[in-house]
Amino acid sequence: MKVSKAKLAIAAGTALMIASLQPAFAAEQKTKPILGIPSSAVASFGGEYGVHNWVESLFYYIMLDNRINYIFKEFGNVERQIALNTQLEQMVLGAKVEYQGASMSAAHADLGITMTQFNAVVEAAYNACERNQIPYYSCNHLIAALAPFTRVIVTK
């Protein structure tokens, strides 16, 4: 258990290094959900400000969940992640916002994230939507836009 955590730390560090070497733009692409995302999606979250509030709530719920909070405490940087997720979520919802972080595969590949942990983040996402009064249907647009990242984020 100790060993694997140490390994993870090294791995995560490497991932960060790789991430910082990559050009700031084009690190992550917008996903292409089959039924599209309506152009009103960002607005239904309350614009950039609303998306930011949602991400803050998301991390609030993540840090309450014992199934996943330790991963973020150990390998994450919540402030940085809130800022980057605010960019990423706007981008996948269709706003002309530049995402400046690492690609999803680079950021998560070495964390050994399970499907159960991924689903825990999705549950936190729904809780954040509810708390921020974002309609369920709008929330599902964000889920649709982020879902394809499962392939690279869930590695276990």
């Binding site: 996903t31 199934r67 942990q117 689903n119 549950e123 879902a147 394809p148």
Partner: protein, 350 residues
């Protein structure tokens, strides 16, 4: 007698202990998992398999992800004019890959025409396959489902659904009544392939299944049919065919879905007369006629079995329990028409 009784209790206690052990050990055991998102494992079908109410889905029942195992139990009550059915079942999902299930049906058939004849024949001293006012049927269903490929939930950028295949073995214990209704077999297997996908942008789950079967009313009234002459070998047929099934569930909130289902049924018993003591009614028309009941033989012609339709609402307040209420439109069942009625189901997940 006394001894058998205590043994039975011991057995029950053993089961109870096992269940308690499962429940309490669950939180710590490595294999235990309940990591699926709410409602994404489907609910409890009348076949015991995970899915909607009647239609199996490609999802593996229970809340386990690929990381573990999860078990559940379900209870369903169906009430339409021709029948009241109680279904109890259990299923276990292994690593979101394999599902094993069992369901037991206890059904009372309310075919008033049939009751009249049974009463009459009892009075006349002719044994039939049915007692007046007490036509109960029992059926066991054993099932297995294997997920082949795809992810119903997260592959939102592709049209590829989650696809599973399944098999069911159904054993109807009410041989006499099944034959009275003109069916050939009381035991048979079915196979199905199901494709499921959640379309998040429209908050809707779509499932399509094709079932290879010879069932009459999912096997509750047997499989296949026999000609309406004497029940000799050779004039019976229980060839399977492919029938289609569709479920559509629209999520109105993360814990609430509304939707509809359609399940195609066959017409094995269409036009077949109810048979009593191995004879179809034409043979006893004389008797009926002589006591002024000639018209009954008409009403004992079975109708084309109706496809099943339902509209439902499913509510899952948490990952341990869900409730489904539905309005059923089951059409013709044997000699009874327009079977509309209610359905209640609960699915307990451990």
């Amino acid at each position: 007698m006394n001894r058998a009784h205590t043994n039975k209790w011991r057995g029950l206690r053993g089961v109870a202990l096992l269940l308690a052990g499962l429940a309490s050990g669950a939180a710590h055991a490595d294999w235990y998992n309940n990591g699926k998102v709410l409602l994404t494992g489907g609910v409890f079908t009348v076949d015991g398999a995970g899915g909607g109410g009647a239609v199996p889905w490609a999802t593996i029942s229970g809340y386990e992800t690929r990381d573990g195992i999860n078990a559940s139990a379900g209870f369903t009550y169906v009430n339409v004019p021709a029948l009241q059915d109680s279904v109890f079942g259990v299923n276990i999902g292994f690593y979101d890959r394999l599902e094993l299930s069992y369901a037991s049906h206890k059904l009372s058939l309310n075919l008033s025409n049939l009751d009249t004849v049974a009463l009459l024949l009892n009075t006349l001293g002719i044994g039939g396959g049915t007692d007046p006012w007490n036509s109960t049927l029992q059926m066991d269903v054993f099932g297995a489902k294997l997920r082949l490929f795809g992810d119903a939930v997260y592959t939102s950028d592709s049209w590829i659904p989650q696809v599973s295949i399944g098999g069911l073995y159904k054993k109807n214990h009410s041989e006499a009544l099944v034959h009275t209704l003109g069916a050939d077999k009381t035991k048979d297997w079915e196979a199905y392939i199901a494709a499921t996908k959640i379309f998040f942008p429209i908050s809707t789950l779509v499932n399509v299944a094709a079932r290879y079967t010879a069932a009459n009313e999912i096997g509750l009234t047997g499989f296949g049919s026999c000609d309406s002459r004497l029940l000799t070998q050779g004039d019976c047929d229980s060839k399977k065919e492919v029938r289609w099934e569709v479920s559509i569930a629209h999520l109105v909130a993360k814990n609430t879905a509304i939707g509809a289902e359609w399940q195609q049924h066959g017409n094995n018993l269409d036009g077949k007369s109810v048979k009593v003591a191995g004879l179809d009614l034409t043979s006893i028309t004389d008797i009926l006629g002589s006591i002024g009941l000639g018209g009954l033989s008409n009403t004992l012609q079975q109708k084309k079995e109706g496809d099943w339709y339902d509209i439902f609402m499913a509510y899952a307040p948490n990952k341990n329990i869900s409730f489904v209420v539905a309005y059923l439109m089951l059409g013709n069942i044997s000699v009874s028409q327009d079977n509309n009625g209610f359905y209640f189901s609960t699915h307990l997940t451990f």
